[in-house]
């Protein structure tokens, strides 16, 4: 059973620094961290303090709103510190890792739906699931109408899942089998429609084969074609890596946070894949990995939706790639002159090489200043969903909850507006506006 989706609207941005097809072992980091702000919609309550010893899989903190939702340590070691930000918000819990991991033994119970849920909750892996609408950690009591697993990404410098996960077939298959018992609907696996890999042979899933420019592989596109969301619906979205980690939990009874992560971007010495554990501290290796230490931005994830980890240096829980780009902090003389200066692919043809599909070296310059909405076609050009992006953004800005729902806020998550960020000539932060809009919806409607 499979669904094919051909996306027309969108934009492929090709960047220098695509990872080579080679996997290396990254030496074990001294430090690992787990960052509560990554898990939207929870309020962390600590269960450990600095100096406590933890095993891989031991509880670090839980959600205040639902104490069943646990967040556990990816490695064994000693809690080094709890870093707090503004208003004492917990930014990250840092663990000083042992030489070798000691795992907490978990007895997986896959006899029933309840048993599976309990195993996932106890191990902390339930927190890796994202709920639609709102893109938050789901409520365990809500049954998802369907589950979507993304094993393909179209954003620039995205990892190739079929390559990176080659050795995790069994884990992924087990994870799919487990998840299929949690929903009455189907489990969908989003794959590249243009290639035939082991992912196409996974059992117990409905394949969603997508082709076309970014954001073709975003789960929102697959969902819009198969299970368009209305209020009251709950869907789950997971990343194939997290499914494989769940699968390993049920096969071996441990939380093994090992992943193969793509190190990409024009500032990487040699872009390729590295095997490491979630939450690893990358700054220890920046000398070996990066071309220069100064003026480099390290991004957990891809350049469109990732988070800036230059400061803290820890790989995020959901990151399957790390991108290093040059910072664009230099003024450009007559930088706005059409047909001159930096060539970047966009919906306009304002460079002489607009037709070229060559890989470009982009930095982080904003290239202009924020302005009111003026140009109206650019956002629609990169929005494959049946949504009027500017009108939805305006509804979010005004906090008009009814309008937001009518215009489809429940069907989108911030990443669907990443290209709007990119193409916007008014330099609006569309992803942030959508996130705030979703937060308002959650409070007002729930």
């Amino acid at each position: 059973m499979s669904v094919s989706i051909k996306v027309k609207k969108g934009l492929d941005i090709r960047l220098l620094g695509e990872p080579a097809y080679a996997v290396e072992e990254l030496p074990r980091s001294r430090l690992y961290a787990i960052k509560p702000p990554e898990f939207v919609g929870i309020n962390p309550r600590l269960s450990v303090q600095a100096g406590d010893r933890v095993l891989a899989g031991d509880l670090l903190f839980y959600s205040k709103y639902n104490p069943d939702i646990l967040f556990t340590s990816p490695v064994s070691g000693t809690v080094k510190e709890v870093v707090r930000g503004k208003r004492r918000m917990i930014l990250r819990v840092v663990i000083e890792a042992d030489e070798k991991d000691e795992y907490k033994k978990i007895e997986p119970d896959e006899s029933s739906r309840e048993g599976i849920l309990k195993t996932l909750l106890k191990s902390g892996l339930f927190s890796l699931i994202r709920k639609r609408p709102y893109d938050t950690v789901p409520e365990p009591s809500q049954r998802p109408k369907a589950i979507y697993i993304r094993a393909y990404e179209t954003a620039p410098l995205s990892p190739d899942y079929a390559f990176a996960m080659e050795n995790r077939k069994e884990d992924l298959q087990k994870g799919i089998q487990i998840l299929s018992k949690l929903t009455e609907g189907k489990v969908y696996l989003i794959v590249d429609g243009a290639s035939q890999t082991f992912l196409n042979d996974m059992q117990g899933v409905a394949l969603v084969k997508v082709t076309g420019p970014h954001p073709a592989a975003n789960p929102s596109v697959a969902i819009a074609h198969t299970n368009p969301i209305s209020q009251g619906d709950v869907l789950w979205v997971l990343n194939a890596w997290d499914v494989a980690i769940m699968g390993r939990l049920f096969l071996k009874g441990i939380y093994d946070a090992t992943k193969v992560v793509a190190f990409t971007g024009s500032m990487m010495k040699s872009p390729k894949y590295y095997r490491l554990k979630q939450g690893a501290y990358l700054k220890d290796f920046s000398e070996d990995l990066l071309k220069t230490k100064e003026n480099v931005r390290l991004i957990g994830g891809n350049p469109l939706t990732g988070s800036n980890i230059t400061e803290d240096g820890f790989l995020g829980m959901f990151d399957n790639s790390v991108t290093a780009l040059p910072e664009g902090n230099q003024a450009r003389f007559f930088g706005w002159m059409p047909f001159l200066g930096t060539s970047r692919k966009t919906v306009y043809r304002l460079n002489f090489d607009w037709f070229s599909n060559k890989k470009r070296d982009l930095d982080t310059s904003l290239h202009g200043e924020e302005r009111p909405f003026v140009m109206t076609e650019e956002a629609e050009e990169v929005m494959p969903l049946d949504i009027y992006p500017i009108h939805l953004l305006k509804a979010c800005l005004t906090g008009d909850v009814d309008k937001m729902e009518q215009l489809g806020i429940l069907e989108v998550v911030p990443e669907d507006f990443a290209l709007v960020d990119y193409v916007s000539s008014s330099k609006i932060n569309a992803q942030e506006i959508i996130r705030r809009g979703l937060d308002v919806m959650m409070v007002e409607i729930g």
Binding site: W336, L350, H367, R371, Q406, G408
Partner: protein, 388 residues
């Protein structure tokens, strides 16, 4: 170039919050960002951004206007010499004397338009503590191009002031205005000072200095049921009397090609506007009651402000419909209405201005209907899912 940048940066602190000239900050930044795209990097959202900002977009439109502007300058001189030679006032002049004569007439209009308009824009930006917006770069050139060359500069200045204040700033500036500011200026002059905006004396420079003038526009001839002394080739190349920049369809097409190629202008509006104009033109040809109705439909597209308005003002993204579907309706109605007003109400030979202004006001309603249809579809699905 580095020294210039260092110099600018040296004085920047005077204009920052707490600086001596803090209030003039927007003016300093407008100047600085004109010379340099600032060193600002992305902080939220996507880490990489396209290199297109509003300055770039607006400058493309200015570039697209340059052929029409240069031609308009020459044609101003050309029309003068044609008349003056016929009246025996001047000996025949060559290309350069025509161009220089035109330049002497048109350049002051452009300067007045920019000085008055930008002055008001800067004032509002400083008063509000906002950044100076780029929108007026285009408006400032559009206004002289859609005015008769004989317009007194004080009326031009007044029109510009009215357009910028009441057409734009009262709504909050670029991006917030309802109607096209350039057309607001023209409409203001048209209704407040009709004698300077219509008739057979205003379209040729110094026309009131000599008798036996024949400075009537084509639409003027037609409205009086007279036959037109120009061929379609004259209309296409633009060697006819008219507002400064709007006569040459050829030059407008060159500019339009740039707008459409770069995708800065909306092809949907241009195409649907053309369709609307053609359709109404053919309908009136079939009806054929008077000279205006018998005027061939394809020539309708080449006279008056039709081509200029469709290329440069109907496509103004701020005042047009904002949805792609809405743009089809918006453009079509502009084309159809322009020809209708022109033909059915000869008192207003320039139907294009009124058609665009009217559709500017209607555009939000079109968008509302388009977006509402999208919302209805969604709400219907919601009801179905609740039932199931």
């Amino acid at each position: 170039m580095k020294s210039l940048h260092d110099l600018l940066k040296k004085y920047e602190k005077l204009f920052l919050t707490g600086g001596k000239y803090e209030k003039l900050g927007p003016a300093y930044r407008a100047f600085y960002t004109f010379l340099y795209t600032p060193e600002v990097v992305t902080e939220k959202g996507a880490h990489i951004r396209s290199s297109i900002d509003l300055k770039r977009v607006m400058f493309v439109v200015v570039m697209a206007l340059i052929p029409a502007t240069l031609f308009g300058i020459w044609n101003t001189g050309h029309q003068y010499y044609v008349q003056a030679v016929a009246a025996g006032i001047e000996p025949a002049g060559g290309f350069w004397s025509e161009f220089l004569f035109g330049l002497k007439k048109v350049l002051p209009m452009i300067i007045v338009s920019y000085v008055v308009g930008l002055g008001i824009e800067f004032y509002f930006a400083i008063k509000r503590g906002e950044e100076v917006n780029e929108g007026y770069l285009v408006t400032g050139l559009l206004i002289p191009l859609i005015m008769p060359v004989t317009i007194p500069l004080w009326i031009l200045a007044l029109s510009v002031a009215f357009a910028v204040i009441f057409g734009k700033e009262v709504f909050g500036g670029t991006g917030m205005n309802i109607v096209n500011p350039a057309l607001t200026a023209r409409a203001f002059a048209f209704f407040s000072y009709p004698a300077t905006m219509s008739g057979n004396l205003v379209w040729v420079a110094n026309a009131d200095h000599y008798d036996a003038v024949s400075g009537e526009t084509i639409l003027g001839y037609l409205a009086q049921n007279k036959s037109v002394p120009w061929s379609w080739w004259d209309m296409f190349t633009g060697t006819i009397p008219g507002s400064v920049g709007e006569t040459s369809v050829l030059m407008i097409l060159i500019g339009l090609a740039l707008l459409l190629f770069t995708k800065v202008g909306s092809w949907r509006i241009v195409l649907s506007g053309l369709l609307g104009g053609v359709l109404m033109g053919i309908l009136f040809n079939v009806w054929g009651e008077n000279a205006l109705m018998q005027f061939p439909w394809w020539q309708h597209l080449m006279v008056g402000g039709f081509a200029f308005g469709l290329a440069f003002m109907a496509t103004d993204p701020v005042t047009a419909a904002q949805t792609n579907k809405g743009k089809w309706i918006y453009g079509f109605l502009i084309g159809a209405l322009a020809i209708t007003i022109r033909v059915l109400n000869p008192a207003y030979p320039e139907g294009m201005m009124l058609a665009i202004l009217l559709m500017n006001v209607v555009a939000p309603t079109i968008d509302y209907l388009v977006v509402e249809a999208n919302a209805k579809k969604r709400m219907k699905r919601k009801i179905l899912s609740v039932k199931a």
